[in-house]
Subunit: 209 residues, 2 copies
């Protein structure tokens, strides 16, 4: 069974999910499909936002940074509020799709750590190469493939069609959508315990091909 993990590299709470999802899913026999998408276009189309809601609504931003500090402390994850927020995660998203499947998890985790614990600029090839454990030239070559960009664009379109509006989002094999790091356990429970047996199937979230 596979849990589809939709994530935007600029998203704070997705840092937590990226670091915990495989450790939580693995013991249940659930594998993770890493699906980078761009949240910016959805925020603009759905809510008219041209910046992170945490910048546009300062009271929410203040809360979120404190919440992140608490959550990372609880999970023993390093955290340092980035000076630059939100960062442009476009290149990192493309590169994720260009890497072999087996390398994606560790790459994604390294990029999130660069963003939210190390004050690094994740829009640079140098930082991405270090996160991938590869040479800069190799990374530049991988990014030349136009398929990377098309894949991320396709992921974003699929996210939109699934009703996704934030990151992290999780989609179960039967098309159920869960939003937010605090729903990760419920998404896994949904698969494991089939806890939806008491509920009618959800007409809003059709399984996408």
């Amino acid at each position: 069974m596979v849990l589809r993990f939709y994530f935007e590299f600029a998203s704070t709470y997705s840092y937590l999910s990226a670091h915990l999802i495989e450790a939580l899913a693995g013991p249940r026999g659930i594998s993770v499909e890493w699906i980078p998408f761009r949240l910016g276009p959805l925020l603009y189309d759905q809510q008219g936002m041209k910046d992170s809601p945490f910048n546009l609504v300062p009271v929410k931003g203040t809360y979120m940074w404190r919440d992140m500090e608490r959550l990372c402390a609880a999970h023993d994850l390093p955290f340092e509020r980035p000076v630059a927020f939100p960062q442009n995660g476009g290149l990192a998203a493309r590169l994720t799709t260009a890497l072999p499947l087996a390398e994606r998890g560790s790459f994604v985790r390294a990029v999130y750590a660069a963003n939210f614990a190390q004050q690094k600029d994740i829009s640079t090839v140098a930082v991405l190469a270090a996160a991938a454990g590869r040479d800069v030239d190799e990374i530049a070559h991988l990014l030349e493939d136009p398929a990377c960009k098309a894949t991320v664009r396709g992921n974003t379109d699929t996210a939109r069609s699934l009703g996704i509006f934030g990151s992290p989002s999780f989609v179960t094999p039967d098309g159920e959508l869960f939003w937010g790091h605090d729903r990760l356990h419920q998404a896994l429970d949904w698969i494991t315990h089939q806890s939806h047996r008491n509920l009618q199937s959800n007409p809003n979230y059709e399984v996408q091909p």
Copy 2:
């Protein structure tokens, strides 16, 4: 020890917190202070919203109703998507402050159930009287006290000064703010385990008098 529970009667997720908070807090020796406030003025002042975000952003509304359906099923709480949303919880908020402390919890739970499980109009004295287990005349008399309205207004002002922007919100004795039903456990843990010992005190959330 007391956990301050700020709630708006129109708020869907607060229905879950209202029904679970005493059962979760009691065994830890934590009591609950029921603090009704008006979220509408905060949504307008902080985000320019004149309606529920779940109406203004349909993709969020679609998700929220499904999420509520799942969560209520998981907690064996009756749930029926209300035809009218959001309802005006102003009168219910005022009445909460007029009732004896010992009656507030059961009253609040009954009003939330009327709203989210019974399609009742919680802006009417008849529904509120039934929720309070009192006569309509008695309720009307209690609501005549201008102190009720002033208290709710004061609660709303305090909520604003605490950095509250949504419901449910929980504030610990040391002034730490937690937002959302999915943070209820963390708010209780914060009090019980003093899990903030590893964190610096939070300059953003001063303890209010």
